[in-house]
Symmetry: C2
Subunit: 244 residues, 2 copies
Amino acid sequence: MSASPKKEENKSSLGRVTRTIVDAIGEAIVTGQYPPEELVPSEAELAAQHGSSRSVLREAIKVLNAKGLVTARPRRGTSVTEPSEWNLFDPDVLRWILRSDFSLSLLLEFTEVRLGFEPGAAELAAKRGSPAELAAIERSFDAMVAAGSDDDALLVADIAFHIAILDASGNRFYRRLKPLVTTALRFSIGLTNEVAKDYEGSAEAHRQLLQAICRHDARGSRRASERLLLDTRAVILKAPQPAQ
Amino acid sequence: MSASPKKEENKSSLGRVTRTIVDAIGEAIVTGQYPPEELVPSEAELAAQHGSSRSVLREAIKVLNAKGLVTARPRRGTSVTEPSEWNLFDPDVLRWILRSDFSLSLLLEFTEVRLGFEPGAAELAAKRGSPAELAAIERSFDAMVAAGSDDDALLVADIAFHIAILDASGNRFYRRLKPLVTTALRFSIGLTNEVAKDYEGSAEAHRQLLQAICRHDARGSRRASERLLLDTRAVILKAPQPAQ
């Protein structure tokens, strides 16, 4: 299935060593170990620290620069950028941040953005989704029902459901949100299932959205998507607040 | 002003030569000169063609890989990815595509996505924008009015207006859409001003949005944003279709 989270993560052509180092430095930045506006250690120091070559470190720093986490300043070294410059639409950056302490507030902001675009995508899916695209939404819904209380299977099917709607929108920008949605939903659904433990309510909300899309009811699809997301937001608001 | 398009473009730490080559190959891919699924010329050939070193070419290919345009396959060379993999949220990729023949259909898709998220951002701006953030929206509006029929000044002020609303939403994801919105609006506003030539109608639609946000009217802000975007879409639909 095209929504496989694994596929998204493996698409990068980075070597395994570089990727491990990018992950380590990325997390160090996001958790404040290397604070904004301050210099990160030199390539030589980082290379020694990670037991790797300077050329691997140079590549890792370039990747982190492309993700908006660091800025290279000629003759001054590499410094951490302001958090507002971090590219949240990059699934790696989002995953690092969601793993850190601030996950709940970011999940709420993510849900606000979903309230912006998912109802619009559902409306377009109802208007112009092809039979094959609607069938993909339906298959994911069936997999959700079949998953029952198997949380891992449910998570995969739930993500596939939302991804299939973005696909069926036929809009290239909505489709490009798939890596972002996949990454964020992996955290969001895990949390909401744990807090709400309301598998039937969630299945029913998804069923109503599926049915509205399949009967090409654009307004009904928009509303069903909004209801589902407002439920999600309510559950996140009920979750215990982590210490900050 | 933080919305300056120039600032967004200069943030990359790529050298000037690398950037020129990334631009050239990126445009060649997007215009179909190097078609999807086919190999691009080898680093040696490209280096000779652009009169540059192989190390610069190697870096340029890595940048294009990060933008989703090419995939490096060990022992097979570098091939162009399917257009569905291209990262439209990367301002460079979006600019290359908008410069090519398919700009009108992509602008329509972009307007669909704006209809998804801008009303949501306007609603949040009305709910929680700080006095300074609302003042920034107002300043951009005043600059639009002052621009009169000076198209360049109007474009800058209009972009700043929409960016200021994203900023005032207080949502980190909406704020990260600023480079995308800046790039796409530069094409979109140019087109709609040319087709519609209705500066007063546009100013009035923006004024209503500004006033709704400043009186903290969340629903009114959402509706005013929707009306503005539906007007924009209507104008794009009236534009002469370019040959494809």
